[in-house]
Symmetry: D3
Subunit: 119 residues, 6 copies
């Protein structure tokens, strides 16, 4: 089984470094603003990451789904909580979301394996 | 100031009744499935409504935003919690969401006034 | 009850005339190509209009929905056939389509009343 | 030439089995509702699959396109009928659909080869 | 003829003031970042506004279209240049953009009248 | 490093030839209309290609991004001008565009290498 999650993380790291090199002020500020939006505040980080995950699923972006699944796992979301997120995304976004549901379930499984390998 | 929230609720009630009359099995089942997705479960109803709200904002549907703001208000979300949701939706969805941010802020204000009038 | 279908048709007629005045070759060719796509061919006009209707519903454009409902009615679609289209659009597009389902049901009802008034 | 259609079917089968294991009531009900929407009814299965195909194309989901092309082929759609569907999807959805038109044409060709291999 | 452009500007002014009152740091930073993106830089302001206009049209947001048409007019775009933008948006986004083309043409006409009234 | 830009160009060439074979009048006319929209006119070809690029980024289509980056490079856009386009697309489309920003930056780098190899 190919590990799309690991490939995504490597590509993300490499290209984020390249984008940092470009050093465009507007892009840098946007990326900083994006990171800070998910920090613990009036809502806790776990809730915010689930909001980011559902938004990514209904907008149907696999890379964004992978990113938020990893963040949700790190923030302590259980599988059952994430299945609830998947269900809401499926209902809001419709059957066009099904391929992304498959991707999300695979990414969640891979993220749990990664977690175990890290021990 | 016109009250778009009240107009939305009246239109929604009238047309939902008309859709019930049509009595299409698939449509009825979808609408039932939709209602049940937001019921308290592994995630509480408040979290689920915020997920629905952010999904509605990034997909840019004012009627869906109005529906979930009313549900969020009923589920006990504070203004500050909803502003956090607005912020995440704005970042994920970009400046194209700004007109819906305006709408959401107005609807939230109207929903609080409605709450007071109900006392 | 306001008649949004009549307003749409009047606005459409007025603005199409204004667009014709502008006389931009690319825009004119696009609009001609669009009209010809729905003409009877390997698929009959009725099937093509239903394809246009479902596409308009999942892309969530009320004016496009109104246009194709009027075309579907003219092409001889029954209410029951259009409810099947609504159901497929709802499933593919998800609950975010619900406000457009309400709109489509209202427009279909209005289009039938219009039909009767024409007798 | 890689056969993306075969890869899609294998991935789809594997992940649908995994989603069944998860056994989330809402997700299961949604998937059942989705299957039943395309069954012969007031509209025949062939028309319904073409509706699903055009919806998938304008929403620009390659996996959904592959699924509906296979279903359309099984339901007896001719190449010429499917080209008409592609044309309507292209016009409604615009040039942003062109990469998905390429994908759909390739998938249709592959589905016809697959059909021959099955004899 | 109702003037939707004037209504948009009044609503925008009123709600932007209300959003400023809310004083959410993330939202404020996003709105500042948005304004600064269109300032003269490597590309001139006129080109940037046309980029914003076409993006708004393919994403099918009438309020965003109105905003960028006013900005394009202020930046010195001619009608003919804007018709070229409309044409590209129509081709990229497809016939689903047609209702927004009508809106854009009307807004452009209204923006020119407004210009004359200001003398 | 795999060269996705070269793969895209080969696939595009092969499938465009196959689409030409199909010889569907509507599809052919659409593709001709699409090519002619970007030709020098009231706006120069460079500006038009940047409009196409930003539209492709906010609609989040990697193949379309690759196509317009190659066209922008041929039309003489500098890296700095394209970074400005990326920035506007990111702001309008939001963080869901970030994976496509990564793709665009990689494609731009690859297009510059290709250019050098052609000498």
């Amino acid at each position: 089984m190919s590990n799309h999650l690991k490939e995504f993380e490597q590509y993300r790291t490499r290209m984020n470094a390249r984008i940092a090199e470009i050093d465009h002020l507007g892009i840098k500020r946007f990326l900083n603003l994006d990171s800070s939006a998910y920090r613990e505040g009036v809502l806790d980080a776990k809730t915010k990451e689930m909001l980011g995950l559902v938004a990514s699923m209904v907008l149907r972006c696999n890379d964004c789904i992978d990113y938020h699944i990893l963040q949700c796992a790190d923030a302590g979301c259980s599988d059952e909580e994430l299945y609830e997120c998947f269900n809401i995304a499926l209902l809001v976004g419709g059957s066009i979301v099904i391929p992304h549901l498959r991707h999300a379930v695979e990414s969640l499984d891979l993220s749990r394996q990664r977690g175990t390998q890290n021990v």
